[in-house]
């Protein structure tokens, strides 16, 4: 019997007439595709189409193509489903994968369009006029009081309750990715970029490496169920603390960093032994209710001199009621992670089939908090596939204060979405701890690319705001009147609080 029925997904083609026989492809590939015997010989089955070899081949002689093997068409049994059955019949294992949901679910963002001013209400040119993107993350008081600044202007009066907010220069932050799932150089790149951009990076649940201590003002430190690396020092080394309850890519299940990825430095940062699995249980065992969540939020506040504490959840069916409970429990922000959010590793079946779109979650949470008169008590952070500044603007119009980007940030650092994060062999040096791979990311280079990306999106957001005729992102927030839908059913429109185009 054959060992496997699974055929390679890709075909690696080398134009040997052009090939320098330099062996760089052999050296660049983290997946071990190439053997060298006078010339590079590819093993198609190992290729993930990450294009590392293609990018670095000095002769430009490598092409990766889909393996064009025909399978009899069957709209019910896709090639992927057939392969999955073969794979599980061979191994009996739970299929583990990386990155976000790749199934062709409808994208609601792609069915929403923004408004613009014409004739009666002039648009604004952000290149010539001020356009405010500054955003404050955290609880806002029910009312503010101002006092004279003695110079003809005003300032917030002392004790007006906004001191504990975190100032962001643009409403984009980096989403939590733990050291362990990504490399230290990725963390360094994110931290340096966050500092330059006046925004935040997020440690994820893997602790904070000592190299990142200088960036404390631009870091959210996360507390997850495994409590890795969490001690009073860690909690106080962030601008804010985040309790991770759930993740869009894997709602309701815990995390599991395999022992192979736990080298000396990861072990030191997480404060766990080398080589043994790092298991984040599915629930926090001290949170079984909203009251328990309140207890954890306030224990962290007590331990940090009342820093902002946020709560990250996966967007699920009852997200509005859950978010209301989270805000009432005292969270300073609610982080909603949609079902297309990425992950370093998740069972494919969970990643692809659990949770709801973040667009819906933003709309229903924003509406619920407004209806209950508590919207000011917490910011809404939205994530789970923010792919462009258009998604960013639409998320804000639906009611988000801030968006978080993870997959886009990794792509800025070279990620090609090959979905191999869980293997620990990322050729781009991102989701790996192998030193020969991690050194491929120069933090200075990475920080510059991340800074470029966020600057570009911020400029685009300013252009969108200008077209809308507003001069501050505040004016777009929750302004669903500036959105229209195309091709969404009436009920979805009602849930989103968005009219169809033409109305």
């Amino acid at each position: 019997m054959p060992i496997s029925l699974i055929q390679p997904e890709f075909k690696v083609h080398i134009d040997y007439d052009k090939c320098h026989k330099c062996g760089r492809c052999v050296q660049q590939c983290g997946w071990g595709v190439y053997n060298f015997n006078e010339r590079p010989i590819p093993d198609d089955a190992k290729c993930r189409a990450c294009h590392r070899c293609v990018t670095y081949c000095p002769a430009h002689c490598i092409t990766i193509k889909k393996n064009d093997l025909a399978l009899r068409d069957n709209a019910n049994w896709s090639a992927g489903l057939r392969t999955a059955v073969w794979r599980q019949a061979e191994t009996g294992g739970v299929m583990l994968t990386g990155m976000g949901n790749d199934k062709p679910y409808q994208s609601i963002f792609d069915h929403l369009v923004l408004d613009a001013c014409q004739v009666t209400n002039p648009s604004i040119d952000p290149l010539r006029e001020p356009m405010e993107l500054r955003t404050y993350l955290g609880r806002k008081p029910d009312a503010v009081s101002v006092e004279s600044d003695g110079d003809g202007g005003f300032r917030l009066a002392e004790g007006s309750g906004v001191e504990k907010n975190v100032k962001l220069d643009t409403p984009i932050i980096f989403s939590p990715m733990s050291y362990g799932s990504v490399s230290l150089n990725v963390h360094r790149s994110l931290a340096m970029a966050a500092e330059r951009l006046g925004i935040l990076m997020n440690t994820g649940e893997g602790g904070l490496h000592a190299d990142l201590y200088p960036y404390a003002d631009n870091v959210i430190v996360q507390v997850a169920s495994g409590r890795f690396g969490v001690n009073p020092e860690y909690l106080n080394r962030g601008a804010a603390v985040e309790i991770k309850v759930g993740q869009g890519a894997k709602p309701g299940i815990g995390g599991h960093l395999p022992g192979e990825k736990i080298n000396k430095e990861v072990s030191e940062t997480r404060m766990i032994p080398q080589g043994s699995d790092a298991i984040s249980p599915a629930p926090h065992h001290d949170i079984y209710s909203i009251e328990d969540l309140r207890q954890l939020i306030y224990s962290i506040k007590e331990a940090t001199g009342y820093k902002p504490v946020g709560v990250k959840i996966a967007a699920v069916h009852n997200v509005a009621a859950i978010a209301s409970g989270i805000v009432r429990a005292g969270a300073d922000y609610v982080y909603l992670d949609g079902f297309k959010g990425g992950t370093g590793a998740a069972p494919q079946i969970i990643r692809d089939h659990i949770g709801i779109p973040v667009e819906i979650a933003i709309a229903v949470v924003d509406q619920r908090l407004r209806d209950e008169g508590i919207r000011n008590q917490a910011s809404i952070v939205a994530a789970g596939s923010i792919r462009s500044s258009a998604d960013l603007a639409k998320a804000i119009a639906l009611g988000a204060d801030v968006v978080a980007i993870g997959s886009a940030a990794l792509m800025a650092l070279g990620c090609h979405m090959c979905q191999g994060c869980h293997t620990g062999s990322c050729s781009w040096g991102l989701t790996t701890q192998k030193p020969e791979l991690t050194r491929r990311v120069d933090p200075e280079w990475g920080a510059e690319r991340l800074t470029n990306l966020v600057h570009a999106w911020s400029h685009e957001l300013q252009e969108i705001l200008g077209a809308l005729g507003v001069n501050a992102v505040e004016s777009l927030r929750g302004s669903r009147e500036r959105l229209r839908s195309i091709g969404l059913d009436q009920q979805t429109c009602d849930i989103l609080g968005v009219k169809p185009a033409g109305l």
Binding site: M95, L96, V230, P232, P273, D286, Q295, Y298, E302, A303
Partner: protein
């Protein structure tokens, strides 16, 4: 709502005023009767900041977060009354002694230090505890010692003198968890079910026996041998010293040792896509 410091504003039955603080050399006494936890803990932190080494809390009745997030060696908190939830959470160094009962979450995510409870304690003790010692004289609740872990020099130790409910040592990743079954008001077995479920590190010692059906499938059950008893002895000595119990009496019943079968319980669960 942000707590407003206003005398007479009741929150959950407590008033939000600064407690009465008396100072005698290095010892500061804080009367906690009816005072909101936030003000109690603020007073504790400022007492230490102003150089006190011992803070004595009197008339404690359920105030939360006592000792939470406090760092520093040689600091001591004495609690007279019933301590509230999450006592000594994230604590890093001090000693807290409770002359009464404690509630849930004692030593939650604790890093270093000592907690001594002269009465009973509740659920989820020592969750994610990374170092230090928790000694409880009496009974403990559910999920005690859950996900305790160890790291290099940090090896947390918890000794519970009474009996325990279900999920004792669940998910345990390191450290030592001990149950004596001596000072108890619980009728029935020494420990409930699901002992050490998901355990992948550390060791549990039980004074007496446990049935295999009570334990998670990740656990191996062995009689404690001489080497084990040598490892266990310092923890027992600390317990005996804290509560004035005779070591000989503790040692009069043979101990059972529970250890995980694998450090990689889920190593073969997956197939890579």
């Amino acid at each position: 709502m942000a707590a407003v410091k206003e005398a007479g504003t009741p929150i959950e039955g407590y008033i939000q005023v600064d407690p009465e603080v008396t100072r005698d050399g290095d010892v500061v006494t804080i009367d906690c009767r009816g005072i909101y936890y936030k003000h109690v803990n603020e007073a504790v932190r400022s007492a230490f900041a102003e150089g006190a080494t011992t803070v004595r809390l009197t008339n404690v009745n359920g105030q939360r977060y006592i000792g939470t997030g406090i760092s520093g060696k040689g600091l001591r908190i004495e609690v007279e009354g019933t301590a509230g939830q999450d006592l000594a959470m994230f604590m890093d160094g001090p000693t807290v002694e409770i002359f009464g009962n404690a509630q849930d979450g004692v030593g939650n995510t604790m890093n270093a230090g000592t907690v001594v409870v002269h009465g009973d304690a509740g659920d989820v003790l020592g969750y994610g505890m990374r170092g230090g010692t928790v000694l409880v004289r009496g009974d403990v609740g559910y999920r005690v010692g859950i996900h305790m872990k160890a790291y290099e020099g940090h090896v947390p130790v918890m000794v519970c003198g009474g009996k325990a409910r279900d999920f004792f040592g669940e998910y345990m990743a390191g450290g030592m968890l001990v149950l004596l079954g001596m000072d108890t008001r619980i009728e029935g077995p020494l420990v409930g079910g699901y002992v050490g479920t998901g355990m992948h590190g550390g060791v549990i010692y039980l004074r007496g026996e446990v049935e295999p059906w009570q334990c998670g499938k990740e656990v191996g059950i062995f009689p404690a041998d001489e080497a084990d008893m040598k490892q266990l002895r310092p923890a027992l000595e600390r317990y005996c010293e804290a509560f004035g119990v005779e070591l000989a009496e503790v040692l009069s019943v043979p101990f059972t040792k529970l250890v995980p079968i694998s450090h990689r319980p889920y190593g073969k669960l997956y197939t890579y896509v």
